[in-house]
Amino acid sequence: MSVATESARWPGTAQPEPRITEDWLSVWIGLAIFVLALGMLGGVDLLGWVVSTSVWIDPSLALGSVSRAYAQLGGAGALVVTYVALLAVLTAAAAALDLDVKRFAVAFTAVFALAYASWIIGSYAYVAAVTPAEQQKFGIGWSLKLTNEGGYVVALLAGLIIANFFPRLAEWLKEAIRPELYIKIAIVILGAFLAVTAAGRLTLATSLLLRGVAAIVEAYLIYWAVVYYIARKWFGFNREWAAPLASGISICGVSAAIAVGGAIRARPIVPVMVSSLVVIFAVVEVLILPFLAQTFLWQEPLVAGAWIGLAVKTDGAAVAGGGITESLILAKSAAEGIHYQPGWILGVTATVKIFIDIFIGIWAFVLGYIWTNHINPSPNKARVSEIWQRFPKFIIGFVLTFVGGLALALGTPTQISSKVPAAIGEANTFRVIFFILTFFSIGILSNFKKLWQEGVGKLAAVYLLSLFGFVIWVGLAISWLFFSGVKPPLAS
C-alpha cells in the first residue's frame, strides 16, 4: 500500500488497495449525515428517526427516536430503523472498499447489536446516574456514576472480552471491525457539533484554537525527539524500528506509524507491529486517564481535555476518551453545583488531535527526505507529493462541517439559525453511535496474549517507559501551562 495515512489501517484489517479509501469514505458519509440533518432548517426532519438512549431503570423507557416527530416508531422501531440505515450505508461503503459485502453485512449486524447493547447497559441507572437527584428520580440508593457515556467503557470492555476470551468470534467479526472508518465519520460530524458550540462563544473558541498550536510543537518536536533517542540509545533499536515507534508513541498512533514507516521505506511489518501496540496502550489509557482527569482535573476542565488529546494516541481512542472525560467532569462539576456547557472539553481534545494530525504528512516527508538522502540513500527518494498523499482527508470533512455549521449558526436569519442546534443535534446522535462502534472495535482488536506471543515485549517496554514516564506528564504540564484558569462557559 503506497499511501500510508490514507489507508492507515488497524492491525488485522489489512486489505488490498481499494477503489476509495476509508479516509475519503468517512468524508462523504459524514457530510451526507450533516446535509441530511440540515433538512430541519427547511422544515423537513429527515433524520429524526435515529435511536437515542436515555438513562433508564425501566428497560421499556431506555430507547426512543431522537425527534418527537418520529415518536410513533417507539424505541425498538427507532433502533431497527437506525440499524437498517447504517447497514445500508456501511454495506455500500464495504462494497466500495472491495470487502466481502455479505460477510460485512452479517458481521456488522453482530457488531451493531453487541456495541449498542453495551451502550444500553451503560445507560442503566445503576451504572449511569450521577447526581443524588437522578438517583432519587430512579428510586436507587447508589450508582457507579459513570454517566450514560460510561457505555463507551462497557463497549470497550465487551470488545476486550471477546478479543481475549472468544478469539474465534473476534475473527468472525473482523470484516466489520473498522475503527478508523467509524471514528473518522464521527469526527466529520463532530465538526458541526463543535461549530454550534463555538458559535455561542466565538472569541473563546478562537483563543482555544490558537492554543492548540502548542500541541503540534510538543508532539512533533519534543516527544518525537525524546522517544526516538530513548528507543535508539537506551533500548538499542535500529533506525527502521525506532522511527515508526517514536512516531506512533509521540504523534498520532496508527496513522503516524504507518505514514513514517512508508516514508522511511521500512518493511510493512514494522508499522503494523507498532500500530498493534498503539491500540493496546490506547485501550489502557482510555480505561484509566478519564477517571484520573475527573478526580484530579475536574476544576480545570479544558486542561483535562487537552491532556487527553495529547496523551492518548490514535484518533479514535483520544476523541472518544475526550467524550468520556467531558461526561465525567460535567457530572462531577454538576454535583458541585457548577453546570458547564457541554462540548468544550471534547472540543479541546478534538482540536488538539486534529492539529497534530494535519502535520503527519509533512513530518513523514521530512523524515523520508533525511532517510532516503542521508541515512539510506536510494533512488526511491521521498517526494513532495507524498505530503498530500499522506494528509488525513477526513480533516477536510471536519473543516467543512465546522465552517458550514458556523456559517449557518452565525450568518443566517434568526428563524433559521435558531433551528441549527436541533438539526446538528440529530447528526450528533449518529456521532455517538459511531463512537460506540469505535470503542467496541478497538476492544476487538486488542488481543493482549496474541500480541505478546508475537514478541513485542521490547517494543512495549519503550512504549511503557515513554508514555507513562514522559509523554503523559509533559502533556499534562503543557496542557496546564496553556489551558489552566480557562473555564468552559456555564450552561444557561
Partner: protein, 51 residues
C-alpha cells in the same frame, strides 16, 4: 515474516550507533521545540484567553 523471526530479530538486532545526522535531527527538533514553546508561552501570557 513469521512470528518467531520477529522475536529473534528484535532480540538479536545488531547495534546501529547514532549517526551525526540523527543527532542533528534530535538536537534541532528539541531546540526548535523548546524555543517555539517559549514563544507560545509568551504569546499566551501577553494575549490571554478572552471570553
Amino acid at each position: 515474516m513469521s512470528e518467531p523471526d520477529l522475536r529473534e530479530e528484535l532480540k538479536n538486532a545488531p547495534a546501529e550507533p547514532l549517526l551525526p545526522i540523527e543527532k542533528k535531527l534530535i538536537g534541532w527538533s528539541l531546540g526548535i521545540g523548546v524555543v517555539l514553546l517559549v514563544v507560545l508561552l509568551l504569546v499566551n501570557h501577553y494575549f490571554p484567553v478572552t471570553l
